[in-house]
């Protein structure tokens, strides 16, 4: 079998090239069955093509704005550039149970209600300081809830935003400076960016 001499820091493209030449001798066994399985696997799409059906256009716009405010563009891109809204759409539409989805959508609607109550406009029509005031209130309320309470809306969207952002390609590479396979472990590495 052919194996690379040494796995150093590799990006995905290099890795794909690599696995192309690392077929062990096993692949030569029972060629019929193995080839059939290989073709099966290749036919299977890596990503599901069907779009999520979790959020309508207005709800997406709300998520887009709120998530960008939670994780904004600074010297690195923010949640919007990282595609967090698409991730939230998938989780709300396809991962959440019905009650979780309903709670999330109620929470989104409540953001608009608060905007109407405080400023007589929808959340997306508010100025950024006004929007910040709404989210600051939600954050304070969420943190004031006693332990064991149902997850508040702001806790949900904050958690989804952080995961969606840091586990996006942009968040991982540009914000975290992630290296997928560094080729070494250092348990006393200097801290610093």
């Amino acid at each position: 079998m052919i194996v690379p001499a040494k796995a150093k820091s590799m990006d995905r493209r290099e890795l794909i090239g690599l696995v192309g030449v690392t077929l062990p001798a096993l692949a030569g066994l029972l060629p019929e069955q193995l080839q059939a399985a290989a073709l099966d696997a290749r036919r299977r799409p890596a990503l599901r093509a069907a779009p999520a059906a979790g959020l309508d256009a207005h709800q997406r716009a709300l998520v887009d704005q709120i998530s960008e405010m939670i994780m904004p563009a600074t010297d690195t891109p923010g949640a919007r550039a990282a595609g967090v809204t698409d991730f939230v759409d998938v989780i709300v539409g396809e991962y959440y149970r019905d009650d979780d989805r309903a709670a999330f959508l109620r929470g989104l609607a409540d953001v608009d209600s608060r905007a109407q109550a405080d400023f007589s406009k929808g959340f997306l029509e508010l100025s950024e300081p006004q929007q910040t005031a709404i989210l600051t209130g939600l954050d304070a309320e969420a943190r004031a809830m006693p332990p064991g309470s149902p997850t508040p809306f702001f806790g949900r969207i904050k958690g989804l935003t952080l995961y969606g952002y840091y586990q996006s390609e942009i968040g991982y590479t540009q914000e975290l400076h992630g290296v997928f396979m560094p080729g070494r472990y250092d348990g006393a590495a200097p801290l610093g960016r």
Binding site: V3, K6, I16, L29, A37, E94
Partner: protein
């Protein structure tokens, strides 16, 4: 048509089946390996390089589908959006539970079995373990001692490549180590603190793992991506797919047949031996028979027992090789999760780089010489230190620029350790064939009756108290104990259903993993274990398999088989 007669049949292609295949083929036997699941192709099936944003659920997994298809399997941390395919469908592979019990049976049916997703920790047993049953009277005495298996540990370790540090501890013998992975500064702090307080009685060391820290026998050193269970494209950790099965294939003596669900072992009353196995093709349901001179069962502890319980005949109404009545009994698994954690002061200017797929190990210190008042045997701790990153953001106040900036600095260092403890062999912890429920192929499902006993519960409590005491002694701050409520099975170290022993009236296998009742039948997976020790068991299965294969071929050459 492939031939139907071989020198040897190996049932299962996982961690022990792969070793049986390698050893038997290298000794010249034409060997058929039967795997219940489908083939595994590293180029396609290994998915370590797939990034979360390339997956539909970004790593969260398809909750609804998992709950429906893999309600049990998903309880294992590794059964996720990447590696869920390496775990069985619980719909196709049902089992039942005795009333009031829970057992999480985690299984992998594909070429490679669970060696693809295993935890890779490898710890030798010592005579403390092989002599345990004789010493305190629980279970039957092991027919072997450390001296019998030590050369086979050497043999297996040299081949697969294991990394670790020699510590010279009698209760955890050193092995053939590649350089150990580094401890991080928090772990070194705990190691040093423990050494000051306990000397050599309680030693924290880097985990001993079947992961290469140097290039080894054509495989590359670990790249530290940290997600071994997704399949390793550099072949840096050991599994049977890219190590032992290719070695077996290279001999030209191997036939590997995936999609082969073994129904039973066929017994020939005229010879008193196994003549082969009956197989159901997983895709066509065709019933096939394969013949051989010897049979190795390596289907996993519970599956091997299930096959034998289902191998009934006039001579063996209660299951093949079961004259002792021990078959299916004495199920053990390690309990895990009780321990302590806290904050490690200092080292603010240090962090970690690379994802080390390994942690720390603190070997057993209980009941080495003295005697604990409320439990026998012992436990060891796995653990690790680190600094939390962005994942703690949800529990921090605020949002926006300030939060993003704050998350650029990791949290202070913490260290956590959790015990993995020994389980006593008890006759009442047993598997039987369910009288009603069958799997997708019509084979009776197992009914599992397994629960922790008072000895395990007492040791769990002690482990949490001792962990807290040790961390405080080492200088860790804000030490808190933690408990766990894991059912048997979830540690995935189930074993003991066809135990070895010195007496054919109380055990299924002799000191060579050979069935007392059926001399050409060998069982070298976890079923053979007469006690559980507290160490992760796979390296012992591998060593016993190589040893048994050597003995089996020796008997064949001497015409005794």
């Amino acid at each position: 048509m492939p031939p139907t007669t071989y020198d040897a049949i190996v049932v299962g292609s996982g961690i022990s089946g792969g070793w049986a295949a390698k050893e038997l083929t290298e000794k010249g036997l034409r060997t058929l390996v039967l795997e219940a699941g489908g083939p595994t192709d590293p180029a396609i099936d290994y998915v370590m390089q797939v990034r979360p944003w390339e997956l539909h659920f970004h790593g969260w997994g398809d909750r609804a589908k998992l709950e429906h298809d893999q309600a049990v399997q998903r309880r294992c941390y590794a059964c996720d959006e990447w590696s869920g395919k390496f775990f069985v469908s619980d719909l196709d592979n049902p089992y039942t539970l005795a009333e009031g019990t829970r057992f999480d049976w985690i299984r992998g049916r594909q070429v490679g079995g669970r060696s693809i997703t295993w935890g890779r920790q490898v710890y030798r047993w010592s005579d403390l373990d092989f002599g345990a049953n004789a010493r305190d009277g629980f279970g039957v005495d092991w027919p072997i001692r450390y001296a019998d298996i030590a050369p086979w540990y050497d043999y297996v370790e040299r081949y697969i490549g294991i990394s670790g540090n020699a510590e010279g501890l009698a209760q955890l013998p050193d092995g053939q180590f590649l350089p150990g992975m580094p401890l991080n500064v928090a772990e070194q702090f705990v190691r040093d603190g423990l050494a000051r307080h306990y000397g050599r009685e309680r030693v924290l060391t880097i985990g001993r793992v079947a992961i290469l820290t140097e290039d080894h026998r054509g495989r590359a050193a670990c790249g530290y991506c940290g997600v071994c269970e997704r399949g390793c494209s550099t072949f840096s950790y050991f599994n049977s797919v890219h190590v032992t099965l290719p070695a077996a294939a290279a001999t030209g003596k191997l036939t590997l047949r995936p999609w082969s669900v073994v129904h039973s072992v066929i017994y020939d009353p005229r010879t008193g031996k196994a003549s082969g196995v009956r197989v159901i093709d997983a895709r066509t349901n065709e019933v096939l028979e394969f013949r051989s001179r010897i049979v190795f069962l390596n289907a996993s502890a519970l599956e091997s027992a299930r096959i034998l319980l289902n191998s009934t005949s006039a001579r063996w109404p209660n299951g093949l090789a079961n004259s002792s009545g021990a078959l299916g009994k004495y199920v053990m698994d390690h309990w895990m999760g009780w321990g302590a954690h806290g904050d490690v002061p200092g080292f603010e200017d240090k962090t970690t780089a690379g994802a080390r797929p390994n942690g720390t190990y603190l070997p057993r210190f209980r009941n080495l010489t003295g005697r604990q008042p409320d439990f026998v045997r012992g436990y060891g701790y796995q653990g690790g230190g680190g600094r939390a990153g962005w994942g703690r953001g949800s529990s921090m106040p605020g949002f926006g620029r300030g939060l993003k900036e704050a998350l650029r600095t990791p949290a202070p260092w913490t260290y956590s350790m959790s015990a993995w403890g020994e389980c006593l062999p008890r006759e009442t912890n047993a598997v039987t064939l369910d009288p009603v429920v069958k799997d997708k192929w019509g084979i009776p499902a197992l009914r599992i009756d397994c629960r922790w006993g008072d000895n395990e519960r007492a040791a769990m409590r002690d482990a949490a108290v001792q962990a807290a005491e040790m961390l405080e002694a080492a200088g860790v701050r804000n030490v808190r104990q933690h408990e766990a409520n894991n059912p048997p099975g979830l540690t995935i170290h189930e074993m003991g259903t066809a135990r070895m022993g010195k007496d054919r009236n109380t055990s299924v296998l002799n000191g060579w993993n050979q069935a007392w009742d059926v001399p050409n039948l060998f069982i070298t997976d976890g079923a053979c274990m007469a006690s559980s020790a507290n160490q992760n068991p796979s390296i012992t299965y591998m060593a016993l398999t190589a040893r048994a294969a050597d003995h089996a071929v020796d008997l064949m050459r001497r015409r005794e088989l």
